[in-house]
């Protein structure tokens, strides 16, 4: 080791903190200037941790299920009564849906309707929250040879969850539709009016830019629209609810606070081209 004089050593010790503070400002600038580098660094860490968290997820979800089970035991009787009543209502709806489905099939057959291709999907486990304080996102664990690409659409069993924004070798980050930076083109199902669903980091994203003369109705269903070629039309998103300050918000159908497994759908949409593929642009797929 190099022997330094005591005053010099003290002066150097005093300098370390300012030097590191300057370095962290440099890091901030670097992260802003080269977003790809920051993204790669993050996904490298995520790739290393995803298998560990994946292994942890199984025992943890057993614990979660046990807690939820205990909670359900307390409300068993009320739940049962409510479910019976709901079941009767749903059976009625089921017969309506089946009749409409049959009618739809015959009408489509008469019109020589070109059917939408069935999208391919993969199922992935949500292993961690990847949002931090100022974002809403989840981390998925994928196998080493996955076929997931950026921009694929994540759905849970009820509705839209979000889109894949960052991709590693064995993990992917899905930006939830409640994130500040999320914008989803949607259709109001009742009026067929287009609007934009903008995340606020809160539990309910906000509706924006609906056309004049149309007012989103309380309880109206909201589905995705094919505008901007980022989402396929008609994926269930949520239900319109007015906030206390009379702002139309959407209550997502997907249970975003307790995601365990999501399906990633490949609709072959290249509406927003991710930065890596902008050089070697993929040929637009015919639909």
């Amino acid at each position: 080791m190099i022997r330094l004089s005591v005053p010099l050593r003290q002066a150097l010790a005093k300098l370390t903190l300012p030097v590191f503070i300057v370095a962290s400002f440099g890091l901030m600038l670097l992260g802003k200037a080269d977003t790809l580098l920051a993204e790669r660094a993050r996904m490298t860490v995520a790739d290393a941790l995803a298998p560990i968290y994946d292994a942890l997820a199984e025992p943890l979800s057993v614990v979660h299920r046990a807690i939820a089970g205990a909670r359900h035991l307390a409300t068993l009787y009320e739940d049962n009564a409510r479910l019976r009543e709901e079941n009767v209502r749903l059976r009625r709806w089921q017969s309506v849906a089946l009749a409409l489905d049959a009618e739809n099939t015959t009408l489509k057959a008469q019109l020589r309707w070109i059917p939408d291709p069935a999208p391919s999907y993969v199922t992935a486990r949500v292993v961690a929250d990847a949002g931090g304080v100022y974002a809403r996102a989840v981390l998925l664990s994928l196998g080493p040879n996955h076929s997931v690409t950026k921009g694929q659409i994540a759905l849970d069993d009820r509705g839209l969850v979000g889109r894949v924004t960052e991709l590693g070798a064995r993990s992917a980050r899905v930006l939830l539709l409640t994130d500040m930076n999320s914008r989803v083109p949607v259709t109001l199902e009742g009026s067929r009016a287009r609007a934009i669903l903008a995340g606020t980091n809160g539990a309910r994203p906000r509706l924006m830019y609906w056309p004049e003369g149309v007012q989103p109705a309380e309880g109206e269903r909201v589905v995705t629209s094919a505008e901007a070629n980022t989402y396929p039309p008609g994926l269930p998103v949520g239900v319109v609810r007015y906030s206390a300050s009379n702002v139309p918000e959407v209550m997502p159908l997907a249970r975003l606070d307790r995601l365990e497994v999501v399906r990633l759908f490949d609709y072959g949409l290249k509406g927003v081209i991710p930065p890596e593929t902008s050089v070697a642009r993929l040929p637009e797929r015919r639909r």
Partner: protein
């Protein structure tokens, strides 16, 4: 082992030196491990805020009571890991932890003398200021006015978490992290 202190001490064998190094690196290593643990999928509400609060509490505690084991390079690495785990703009967590370290080292002589409550109060002041700083920097870097409620929640959570962590860390400070015990 402190060479400045007089007294009889055992010969520094390789194992003893290894033990001493492990004790010296305990604070940084435990802080990083705590970061990884708080990033695990527990599905706690406010887990991201908890992660920040835990990192800040650890860095502040060790900077006050054992700054030799939590030097600026270690703080930098802890902050970098926190930023990468949290998908935050890189550098924001690093700066706030470095500021916390700087403040703690500057005030440490007075704080140690005064006992637990003033240290906690100082921590609350630092945590509140840093939550504000993080909010400001993240807003500036994402070019978006972020909800300030998250910053307040983060500060409150850090203030509440510190006493609990301090009890555990104080015990570690006297036992496992003490190089003189090697």
């Amino acid at each position: 082992m402190d060479d400045r202190r007089p007294g009889i001490r055992p010969r520094p064998s390789i194992w003893r030196r290894l033990d001493s190094t492990a004790r010296r690196s305990f604070p940084t290593a435990m802080t990083m491990l705590l970061l990884l643990v708080t990033a695990a999928p527990f599905r706690l509400p406010g887990q991201a805020e908890l992660q920040n609060a835990a990192a800040l509490s650890c860095v502040f505690f060790w900077s006050v009571y054992r700054p030799g084991s939590m030097p600026p390079p270690a703080v930098f690495l802890v902050g970098l890991l926190a930023d990468l785990l949290d998908f935050a703009p890189p550098g924001v967590g690093v700066i706030s932890l470095l500021v916390a370290h700087g403040v703690a080292v500057r005030w440490r002589r007075d704080l140690i003398r005064l006992g637990f409550l003033p240290v906690w109060l100082a921590f609350v002041v630092v945590a509140t200021g840093l939550a504000g700083l993080q909010w400001l920097l993240t807003s500036a870097l994402t070019l978006r006015l972020l909800p300030a409620g998250s910053a307040l929640f983060q500060a409150a959570l850090a203030a509440g978490l510190y006493p609990m962590l301090a009890v555990l860390l104080a015990r570690a400070h006297r036992t496992v992290a003490e190089p003189a015990n090697a």
